[in-house]
């Protein structure tokens, strides 16, 4: 904590009105974030819960049939929830190793000159609008997946062909989109590892690679876990990039099925839904919000733990 400075006019009851006004205004600004989060939470709950009770909590969360437009509509979103969980997990499985390895490259292996090219490139990757990822997914990944699909299911009579818009395509796009987050945060975690750990390991006779994998990476563990959690948050909340890439029918999340995520369900049906259907979409939003809050609280605890261990 830095020492605080106080005005020599402070505390004498001589504060002018302007001073008071400034303090009050800044305080209000400070608490605006609290207000925003509180009202978002409130509104998500208000608009998400009615459908839960109208349809029945179990029917909606554990039902597997999604037919909102049928004569006797059915609103089971189990497959949608499962798709989001499995899709995010797979994206993390693909994206995190590549991201962490790239971070190792940037922080430990690469010569200065290469780092200067690679890091701006990673920053750019983070800045590309998500719709562009979606556009490329449709035009590059989907045709590729369709070819593979045609080969694998050549003789199958039961398989529904998707034209390549399937879970794998969506997972690949998501894995790509979490890369910048994972790379940036793991890299700063790796750079924060004190130099003497590396020196000690090298002096004991470990090779450079051994040092990286058995001394530096374990030391940067908490930072890398933070990167994974942030990546999870980014992957589960992504909507526009995968809304057209993943196909759009509600199915079991199997690799070659056309699937629907929590986010894409909202995007693709919001515009024409009405009544109970719309309320169910808000319930989907509420489920997504619950996941995000869970991730945020986990993240907050992780960061707190990191601070405590630094203080020791």
């Amino acid at each position: 904590m830095r020492p605080k400075s106080y005005s020599i006019f402070g505390g004498h009851g001589s504060k002018s009105g302007v001073e008071h006004a400034a303090e009050v205004i800044f305080t209000v600004c400070g608490f605006f974030a609290v207000l925003a989060v509180a009202s978002i939470t409130l509104y998500m709950i208000i608009s998400g819960t009615p459908a839960l009770f109208k349809v029945g909590i179990l029917d909606i969360l554990f039902g597997t049939i999604w037919m909102p437009a049928a004569a006797t509509p059915s609103f089971g979103i189990l497959y949608v929830i499962l798709t989001s969980i499995i899709g995010t997990a797979l994206a993390i499985l693909i994206g995190v190793p590549i991201g962490v390895m790239t971070a190792v490259f940037l922080a430990e292996v690469a010569p200065e000159r290469l780092t200067k090219i690679v890091r701006p490139a990673v920053e750019l990757l983070a800045g590309i609008p998500s719709v562009i990822y979606g556009l490329l997914g449709i035009l590059i990944l989907n045709p590729l997946m369709y070819k593979i699909e045609l080969k694998i299911f050549a003789g199958s009579t039961t398989h529904q062909f998707t034209g390549g818009a399937n879970l794998i395509s969506a997972v690949l796009v998501l894995a790509l989109m979490i890369l910048p987050t994972v790379i940036n945060i793991s890299e700063s975690a790796l750079r924060a590892v004190p130099q003497h750990l590396r020196s000690a390991s090298l002096a004991l006779g470990a090779t450079k690679i051994q040092t990286i994998f058995s001394a530096v990476l374990p030391a940067a563990k908490s930072g890398i876990i933070t990167a994974i959690v942030l990546g999870t948050g980014r992957a589960i909340g992504e909507a526009m990039a995968i809304s057209l890439v993943s196909g759009s029918s509600v199915n079991m999340p199997l690799p070659f099925h056309s699937v629907r995520f929590l986010t894409t369900a909202i995007v693709s049906e919001m515009s024409y839904s009405a009544g109970l259907h719309k309320q169910v979409l808000f319930t989907i939003g509420l489920v997504l919000f619950a996941f995000i809050m869970l991730i945020n609280v986990t993240l907050n605890n992780l960061l707190k733990k990191g601070e405590e261990s630094h203080d020791k």
Binding site: S7, I8, F105, A121, L125, I128, L136, T207, G237, A239
Partner: protein
């Protein structure tokens, strides 16, 4: 205590190379290969994306594409309406979010006395940064669109986005305020300035480059945003008839138009918009980098 011999280690003399540099281990070469492979995947992906978009998109760009609005009678397509909408959204969002974000940062850094309140504000700011844009979209649709009755309009979209970029501006401003030396504050207060006068004349000008960088990053975020705008700002593509009335009309930004083109499978037009977006993103990135670089060297020199 003979054990407490302190060996003076200079930073330059720290061991940085393995004493076994000559020895080859298969696992080492394999892992090195893996590291290089992953790094090159990350780079190749970026080059691939940029290259593909530019190759497909640049031929689509023409004067007509950039300066007209879509017309079904003539059968032409143009994005000038969307560009204007994007500008509207950027300006209104920043007008709302910048004072709030900077104010919050000043409160956290200068006025707050620590304790629970600060922890709650910092937690909610983090939370706000972690909420995905689709949730902001839903909230904006319900709260600004329905409850406040603004419907699908540029104002609804801008209000929604200003909540979204608030944490970004707060955090960069906070970082900038932290780099202002404590002696500036003491000096100003010592010669009799009041706190607000000190903030206004000393702190804010010193922290200005950092604040501007934050604003530029926020512009980048706004330009690339789509999910939060789909249900709030709508998808209008016409040029505004009167300057202020447009705020209450629906207006789709470039990203929304790109999404709509994609849905209609008009990929050529989509790639044209993608090129425009990429150029904007590149420019913003360069500008932010230039500013932060300039700021850093200035600090070092002084």
């Amino acid at each position: 205590m003979t054990n407490d011999i302190v060996i003076p280690v200079q930073k330059e003399s720290a061991v940085t190379h393995s004493i076994y540099n000559r020895k080859n281990r298969i696992s080492d070469s394999f892992l090195t290969f893996l590291i290089y492979l992953c790094a090159s995947i990350s780079i190749m992906v970026l080059i691939g994306i940029m290259g593909y978009v530019f190759v497909r998109g640049v031929p689509e760009i023409s004067l007509e594409f950039l300066t007209t609005v879509p017309s079904t009678i003539k059968g032409t397509f143009g994005i000038v309406g969307n560009i204007v909408n994007t500008l509207y959204v950027i300006v209104i969002t920043l007008l709302i979010a910048t004072p709030l974000g900077v104010g919050a940062a000043i409160y956290l850094n200068e006025y707050a006395k620590g304790g629970k309140a600060v922890r709650i504000i910092e937690f909610t700011t983090e939370t706000l940064a972690g909420i995905p844009s689709i949730i902001f979209g839903l909230f904006g649709y319900v709260f600004f669109g329905n409850t406040l009755g603004l419907g699908y309009s540029i104002l609804t979209g801008a209000l929604t986005l200003s909540i979204m970029v608030l944490p970004l501006i707060t955090r960069t401003t906070q970082e900038a305020l932290k780099t202002v030396p404590e002696s500036y504050r003491s000096g100003a207060l010592g010669i009799g300035a009041t706190k607000w006068y000190m903030i206004r004349t000393i702190l804010l000008p010193s922290a200005m480059p950092g604040i501007v960088t934050g604003i530029i990053l926020a512009i980048g975020r706004i330009v690339g945003e789509s999910a939060a705008l789909l249900f709030t700002a709508g998808s209008g593509y016409l040029l505004p008839k009167d300057f202020f009335g447009k705020i209450f009309e629906s207006g789709g930004t470039l990203t929304i138009q790109l999404y709509l083109c994609m849905q209609k499978a008009k990929y050529g037009q989509a790639f044209g918009i993608a090129v425009v977006l990429l150029v904007i993103v590149l420019a913003i990135n360069g500008l932010a980098k230039f500013l932060s670089h300039k700021f850093n060297t200035e600090v070092k020199e002084s």
